[in-house]
Symmetry: D2
């Protein structure tokens, strides 16, 4: 049995909730309880042609959800901050074309009304302990994809989920996206895949892995994606861009649609082997 160190988990604990939580968006996009699903798309939403193009391609390769950043939390105020509400409109256009449910990040509690048409609301690493935001998301009726903090502990991730759930929303997806360690020369973060089996023991919530932020380097993404599948993840979140060199953000860690297609074939084989 895992240590809980005095912090009681109620809603998020597997104890008392033995059945896996399953997140369902439409007929074919299901995650958890043995259903594996991949979320793919560009780091930032850039324009309509880009979004529709990449959405069609990732769908053809087997992705079940479309991601894209409209509001971008950037370390520097002088970096591209995202297209904002226009970005959400472009995601919706891509959804109309492909049927893929859309996942995008919220960075301000005051923006919540803009997310009414979004399928899954993402909370990024920098807001993983923005507790007032988590409480508000607990009152809405949409699945929340909650990323582990930049240097968040597993316990903190679970307690942030508990904030959402204690406020009334039990549809939370947990996302491992790499943690901050001294090893930052070859990788942007250290992807902590052991968090996957740890979380699967403690909680009934689905666990996805983001190897794009987790490594920061496209050449490492396929290996880490396959490793995440083998470790028992319920899903993956992968950045895909048709022209990574010219991406507005995080191009260095984006796969091309061709690389993504190749990866999805291997993911399928690993899934079948398990």
């Amino acid at each position: 049995m895992m240590r809980t160190d005095g912090y009681p988990l109620s809603e998020a604990a597997r104890t008392g909730h033995p059945l896996d939580t399953v997140i369902v968006c439409g007929e074919s996009s299901v995650m958890g309880g043995g259903q594996f699903a991949v979320i793919a798309g560009p780091c930032s939403v850039e324009n309509e042609a880009q979004m529709i193009d990449v959405a069609k391609k990732v769908k053809a390769s087997g992705a079940r959800f479309l991601r894209g950043g409209a509001f971008k939390p950037r370390t520097s105020p002088y970096d591209f901050q995202g297209l904002g509400s226009e970005g959400i409109e472009l995601l919706k256009a891509a959804r109309r074309e492909t049927g893929l449910p859309i996942v995008t990040e919220i960075t301000d509690v005051r923006m919540l009304h803009m997310f009414e048409d979004v399928d899954i609301i993402q909370v990024g690493a920098r807001n993983a302990q923005n507790f007032e935001l988590l409480k508000e998301l607990g009152k809405c009726h949409k699945p929340v994809l909650l990323k582990r903090g930049l240097a968040g502990t597993i316990r903190e991730l679970l307690l942030s989920a508990e904030y959402v759930m204690a406020s009334g929303n039990s549809r939370v997806i947990l996302c491992e996206r790499g943690i901050r360690t001294y090893e930052n020369v070859y990788t942007r973060n250290t992807l902590d895949l052991s968090a996957v089996p740890v979380l699967k023991e403690i909680t009934h919530l689905p666990v996805v892995v983001d190897p794009s932020h987790g490594t920061g380097k496209a050449s490492l993404v396929p290996s880490m994606a396959l490793a995440a599948v083998a470790a028992g993840a319920d899903g993956l979140m992968i950045e895909v861009h048709s022209d990574p060199v010219h991406a507005f953000s995080d191009g260095e860690q984006s796969l091309t649609p061709e690389m993504f297609d190749e990866l999805m074939k291997k993911v399928k084989r690993i899934r079948e082997a398990l």
Copy 2:
């Protein structure tokens, strides 16, 4: 010359702004530019008698600002979340009694109107990269005390200050409060005092040190407070509680007023020696 790694600092950089920024609140509460000041008070505001009692005592020992948490960002949703707006009223009552300017933490951008009578608005470690909050604080006319993130880099702290300053508010105080490392048995965080001379080289903003959160243990606070002074800090932020054993939060790291008084005498001697 320090590396900036491609992230340009504009407002926060000492280059082009050689003079130290000085924060002034009334006649006797001044920090920066050679003026040293101590912020003291309880972790959480608990009741009026407590606040007034501790405010009088820390003032008598030489504190220049009063701290107290009204909105508490807690890891678990089941922990005490603070008195909220009532807590701010109690801080104001203590200010009326003592004349000490008050410093308290904001945890939600929607609460900003409640902080109109607060003297310095604190941004805690968990909101150090809540960029939308930082932008709003850039539009207000109050000094902002910005804590380093839980595992924030020095560069991220500077860029968070830059968010506030680029939005129009140049009165930012930087606060080192310990970083997250593997060494978490004997100390809650690892107080990174080398951040003090690093920041003093790069920026003109005042730098304060919080040895209470930085160590998490009252017995270590005096040594680390004196070390911070010797390292060149412009101020200290110290948790003081009349009855630490019964504090609503963080009692383990709170000094009693007697311990604080003893510390302030030593701080004075170190300041004179420098």
Copy 3:
């Protein structure tokens, strides 16, 4: 292309040595160059019956090498320090019974003569930068299994291998065994599986993963072992003990022979899927 940050790699670099190094011990124990191999056995050698029993069992499940600690580097001087040279005799007895080549750790350069009959000499995490030991191992004619330091960087691991190789011994196996991070509640170390594809890009040396030390918890070992295989590791190093509860050391992270057998079947399926 990976950054090398001014530290030149010569012998260990893939540049100029495009072919994978292959470690061969007898007919059936081969690692590297597409050959996958598992090293298994108890943390500490305890007695002859234990060693022979576990050796037979791990061989039956498909292990290609036998491990067991004779000289144990323990954090406290009051902990069990290993059976010493008698432990090596017991490993040899198990080799006679099973034919499995033996891998055991050296902790003192003066002991090198005792390792004449050992097949692979292991350098543990605490000696990963014991450069004088590495130089001596560079003069011997046995493969060296080099573990990453407790908080070693990937670059340091490569440069430690370079110490061995520059002294004349090119048969080095690199071992990822978890790094020290702030996340030490649920796992003993953080297994850095991204080191696997990073190392495979930079070097021609075989890379094995030790999920036993990497997680410190038996329940997490199978998931992380499978993840390591999917990430592209050339081998695994797994602690197996017939009676983990009564093991002299590290019982908490040891698999039983039954769990190991189950794991090996899954490893085989993942290998085939890749």
Copy 4:
């Protein structure tokens, strides 16, 4: 009372040994029990003129011990490895000229006979858990200066001291020299000054701080040295080189004799203020 987490300390614990251990080398070089002392000198011994010159200068400024590396543990095998036994001869020459006791690092247990004329034997960060070396040092009759590991915990440092003491040598000096954290842009390591009051609570052994390795940058050394004094350290270990730009190793973190002299005046003032 500090947690010991099940690892018993015997010889190193203050419990049962309430009096501070005092290290005495000759009449004027005393450390511990209220006696403060500074160890200074170049990173590497380079030649006789250099050693005698710097020894005279640091003595004139108030240093009580002379340091200099003869055997250098370097990350890369292709870096300067030290002058070896010739380096020890040059240190002895500098001792003859100045009377300062000499401190130098051992990197191989087989070299112990070369250290017969050395006054204090240093164990570096990379050998902090080279337990066989520690056991041998426990049998010799010289003070041992034991550095904290690269990412060593406080508990590990204490248990390494316990290895020396349990073997019979109670004269151990503990040295905080910075730990490995994610913050490695502005500083080489993160100097953990809170280790000073923690260690002073738990053990009776003297505690020195090395701000040169702790920061890796000469401009930060004076601030951190003063902070260490204010935190309660029993001594400092400072790298001083007459011509840092041309130093064989670690020139970036070396003070010039003039900077060292200036620092020593401030150290004296802080000591008097305490």
